[in-house]
């Protein structure tokens, strides 16, 4: 394959749309100082700004929780919907069927997606819903003051919640088993990786699951917790070095055996630079192996685990007209008098 021009490291003051980053801010956060979720919000602002997306064509959806509050804190010019606990996916599904041209970012928590919400999570994967599905994973219910969620490690101890004696659900494994087409894990403390993954996810065709470990500084941040900053900083191992290259930047082709490029639906590229052993993120089976191993060894491995650009997303499968269903004029959605007459005649 090809030699690649890296994007200019220093981001310009304004983006493709000539807007400054401040334009992409939301309301001030009401989360605890230092909450991982706030840094993820910042990553989203950066990614969307750098991609030069038009905020009015983006929607933000969430369930309930500290994490689910965050859509109020980024992209202030996008429509947002803070729905009910664990049911964000169905709301997003409806919104995207109504207007398939929207770019949808879903924000959820581990309680919201793995406990009450695992059902809708699963079916969103099956449908390959064109949604960037971010799970801000801190292993606890933050907003209700620190109970264990379904992603809490077995044997973990918390001052308030006691010991968790049940095994964790692995968001990434759950996603892949249910046929998700873009599955990655990252760490709120790793700004660069999160942003590259966000950009790639926003360019992906279908569901893109980002399981982002996002420490709850108030209820689950002591170093023994795998969801803490301390643990993350100490133990995070990146599977690859990730670089996103937008479609508009030309890229020259040429062999590099320590690199893989995967072209995304919109023509952009995600470049994966091998760090440890070689890994093929298009091999679903390799993903199982890797994730099962890291789960048992409690390794904190991050990166893009699986990607498949070949699957049609849900709205494609519905064979919808090009125009959003929501904006179709009456002529297009009300059949003719003659059509009614002929049906009446037949009954």
């Amino acid at each position: 394959m090809d030699k690649v021009k890296r994007p200019a490291p220093r981001a310009p003051k304004t983006n493709l749309l000539g807007l400054e980053k401040t334009e992409y801010r939301g309301k001030p956060s009401t989360l605890c100082k230092g909450c991982g979720h706030d840094s993820i919000s910042q990553r989203i602002i950066n990614a969307v700004w750098e991609l030069g997306l038009d905020q009015t064509q983006v929607v933000k959806l969430s369930g309930i929780g500290c994490s689910s509050k965050t859509p109020a804190y980024f992209l202030g010019h996008s429509h947002g919907f803070n729905s009910v606990h664990g049911r964000m996916p169905s709301v997003a599904t409806g919104a995207l069927v109504a207007n398939k041209n929207l770019t949808a970012i879903g924000v959820s928590g581990d309680g919201d997606s793995a406990s009450i919400g695992i059902g809708q999570f699963k079916h969103a994967m099956r449908r390959n819903l064109p949604l960037v599905y971010i799970v801000e994973n801190n292993g606890v219910y933050g907003l209700t003051k620190g109970q264990f969620s379904a992603t809490a490690d077995k044997g973990q101890q918390l001052k308030y919640a006691g010991v968790n004696d049940m095994p964790a659900l692995d968001i990434c494994l759950e996603a892949i088993v249910a046929n998700a087409t873009f599955v990655a894990r990252s760490f709120a403390g790793d700004a660069k990786q999160v942003e590259s993954l966000l950009k790639a996810a926003l360019s992906h065709r279908g569901i893109a699951v980002l399981d982002i470990i996002s420490p709850c500084v108030t209820f689950n941040n002591h170093d023994t917790s795998t969801k803490s900053y301390g643990f993350g900083k100490e133990h995070q191992i990146s599977l690859q070095e990730l670089n996103y290259i937008p479609a508009y930047e030309e890229i020259e082709i040429d062999e590099y055996d320590d690199e893989r490029e995967v072209q995304l639906h919109d023509g952009s590229w995600i470049v994966l630079k091998k760090l440890a052993e070689d890994y093929d993120p298009t091999d679903r089976f390799a993903a199982y192996k890797l994730l099962e191993e890291t789960r048992t060894s409690q390794q904190f491995l991050t990166g893009l685990f699986y990607i498949d650009e070949s699957q049609p997303d849900m709205t494609e499968l519905l064979n919808l007209v090009d125009e959003p269903l929501a904006s179709l004029p009456q002529e297009k959605v009300r059949p003719s008098r003659e059509q009614l007459d002929s049906i009446m005649a037949a009954l």
Partner: protein
């Protein structure tokens, strides 16, 4: 119907015959194809111009259990369920004994001669049918035999009752969409039955049908769920997200069937609608809410258990003020209850659905034509009021075939409600409030995602918010918001379909009822009249009630107002009483709930009991 028929019912017979005025009950096994025979029977009678209803009494299982099909022919045009069966057809060994017992005095009984026959009754004429023999006689694939066997009783009835053979043939043709082979096979079997009857029977029994005019002309035969589905398609539905549940599934089925014919873009052949089978009812309503929030016309169809599962989400739509259309084809609850029996038992729980202070808009269609119409009304109201709108039909209306007026083409343009376009926002130079009541009707403006105006966006949430959709825990904001919501509810009173009132001068009795009870009320009023009791009738078509309903209840003329409904607790009665406490003393609950549609007799007797 409620306006056409006004003569008293008559059991008279001219020269000993009882013409166009009796009940037929066909007892078969479900999954045995009897549905075809019964539909053919019903359709041919309908096409002979005779007022007729067919009610399918089927078990909650797929194959092998008893099923009954009850056909009422009524020259007077009474379409309610009527007790008493004059013509009994027995095809099911499991129930033959009971079925024969149910036969009215001087009735007739047709039965498969292979069935074990209980002691015969003197007053009854019996017609054994050599079903096995006739089926053997025909050369048809073994697999099909069971299915066509039921055509034998159609043949016998055709002969005995004088049904026009051409109409039978026509009905078969209609039923098989013109496919020759099945038409022939089945018609052949009908004729074998017909001829066998002709040869073996001397037709002295009194029951006959004969062609009528003035009733069925340009009427159609259709079920309420198909009407609902068609109504949705003719009123711009964009998304149907549903989860299968009896008796609502046929709403989605109808849409599935008609949509490709009606709603594909002629140029591209692409769909202007989407049908999504959700993983459950929570997801179904969630998709409806998401789609409606984004500006589409979205609906779901379900039944009681689904309504209960939607409770939390419905509260969100109510409070965040998002349109949603939910069809509840009511079946017998509580719990799983009787999935294949009818009821109007979801009125209370739906009216107050979800925690906190909530009240919802409910529509009550009474006929297929109204199902078609209300499919549009529901969307218009949901988008105008920015709130969930429930259409409460029931199994009887939804799944049975009814004689109906042809559906009127929707003349009014669709009302998409208060949606600010990019242009509107420019005009307002971008300043607007999502929950700001600009004109006093309690309804605020909204914008749709994707609106390119920089100031179009707002944040939707189920938590406390102020007029500009900002999060707020302030008491004043909360109260202010609830005040506006109840102002909106007052507006709803003026927008929902008005009741149909048939006020009779001098009537001291007022009757309020709803939905599929209509035929029973109509017939009961005629009976009451012949008993010297004149009544006025208000058919409620929606909640919340408007001024006309209040006036009817308040009217000095009526010393008693009976609230007639098909549930156990008198649910509508409870709502009316708590809405109009000033007149509670004169309202009387007339409620029954046994899985059957109401009969005129029940209504008549219940009211009489209070007039002694």
């Amino acid at each position: 119907m409620s306006v056409m028929v006004r003569e008293a019912p008559s059991d008279q017979n001219d020269q000993g015959l009882r013409v166009n005025d009796f009940n037929i009950n066909v007892a078969t096994v479900n999954g045995s194809g009897s549905q075809t025979s019964n539909n053919v029977l019903l359709r041919s009678l309908f096409k002979m111009g005779i007022p007729v209803t067919g009610k399918n009494l089927f078990p909650s299982n797929i194959q092998g259990l008893p099923t009954w099909y009850n056909v009422r022919v009524s020259k007077d045009g009474y379409l309610a369920r009527r007790d008493g069966i004059e013509v009994v057809v027995c095809m099911n060994p499991a129930t033959v004994a009971e079925d024969m017992q149910d036969c009215a005095p001087n009735g007739i009984i047709l039965y498969d001669d292979a069935l074990p026959i209980a002691a015969r009754r003197k007053d009854i004429t019996y017609f054994p049918m050599p079903v096995k023999e006739l089926v053997k006689g025909a050369d048809i694939a073994f697999a099909l035999r069971d299915y066509v066997a039921n055509m034998v009783y159609v043949g016998y009835l055709t002969y005995l009752l004088d049904i026009e053979i051409d109409e039978i043939k026509a009905a078969l043709t209609w039923n098989f969409g013109g496919k020759q082979k099945p038409i022939e096979i089945n018609f052949d079997m009908v004729m074998r039955g017909y001829n066998s009857a002709k040869e073996t029977v001397e037709n002295t029994q009194p029951y006959r049908v004969t062609r009528m005019t003035g009733y069925n002309e340009d009427k159609i035969l259709v079920d309420g769920n198909s009407a609902a589905g068609l109504g949705a398609l003719f009123n711009g539905v964009n998304l149907v997200s549903w989860y299968p549940i009896t008796p609502s599934s046929s709403v989605a089925d109808a849409i599935n069937e008609y949509a490709p014919k009606l709603r594909l873009d002629p140029e591209t052949g692409k769909a202007t609608y989407a049908i999504v089978q959700a993983e459950d009812e929570l997801a179904a309503i969630g998709m409806v809410i998401g789609a409606s929030w984004a500006g589409a016309r979205a609906m779901t169809a379900t039944s009681g258990p689904g309504i209960s599962l939607m409770a939390e989400f419905v509260g969100l739509a109510y409070f965040a003020e998002i349109p949603a259309v939910v069809w509840d084809i009511q079946r017998m609850g509580p719990s799983t209850g009787l999935p294949t029996r009818t009821s109007q038992g979801d009125i209370l729980s739906t009216y107050y659905l979800s925690h906190g202070d909530t009240r919802h808009v409910l529509l009550f269609p009474a006929t297929p034509a109204e199902c078609f119409e209300f499919a549009g009304t529901a969307f218009d109201l949901a988008e105008r009021l920015q709130t969930p709108v429930f259409v409460l039909s029931d199994l009887d209306l939804g799944m049975n075939l009814w004689i109906s007026d042809k559906f009127d083409y929707p003349e009014k343009p669709m009302d998409r409600g208060k949606v600010l376009s990019e242009a509107d926002l420019k005009e307002l130079s971008g300043s607007w409030g999502r929950y700001l009541d600009v004109d006093g009707d309690g309804i605020a403006n909204r914008t749709l995602p994707g609106n390119p105006h920089k100031m179009a966006s707002y944040f939707t949430r189920g938590t406390g918010h102020n007029e500009y959709a900002a999060y707020s825990e302030r008491s004043e904001d909360w109260e202010h918001n609830l005040e506006r919501l109840s102002r909106k509810f007052e507006t709803a009173r003026t927008l929902v379909p008005a009741p149909i009132i048939d006020a009779k001068p001098g009537a001291k009795v007022g009757i309020i009822s709803l939905g599929s009870n209509d035929p029973a009320i109509v017939e009961a009023r005629d009976r009451l009249r012949s008993a010297g009791i004149e009544s006025s009738y208000l058919r409620l078509r929606a909640l919340p009630i408007g001024q006309q309903v209040r006036d009817f209840i308040a009217s000095e003329e009526y010393d008693q107002v009976f609230v007639v409904e098909n549930n156990y607790d008198g649910q509508l009665y409870r709502i009316l009483v708590s809405t109009e406490p000033g007149f509670a003393h004169k309202m009387i609950s007339v409620a029954k709930c046994d899985g059957m549609s109401l009969s005129a007799r029940f209504v008549n007797d219940s009211i009489l009991a209070h007039r002694q």
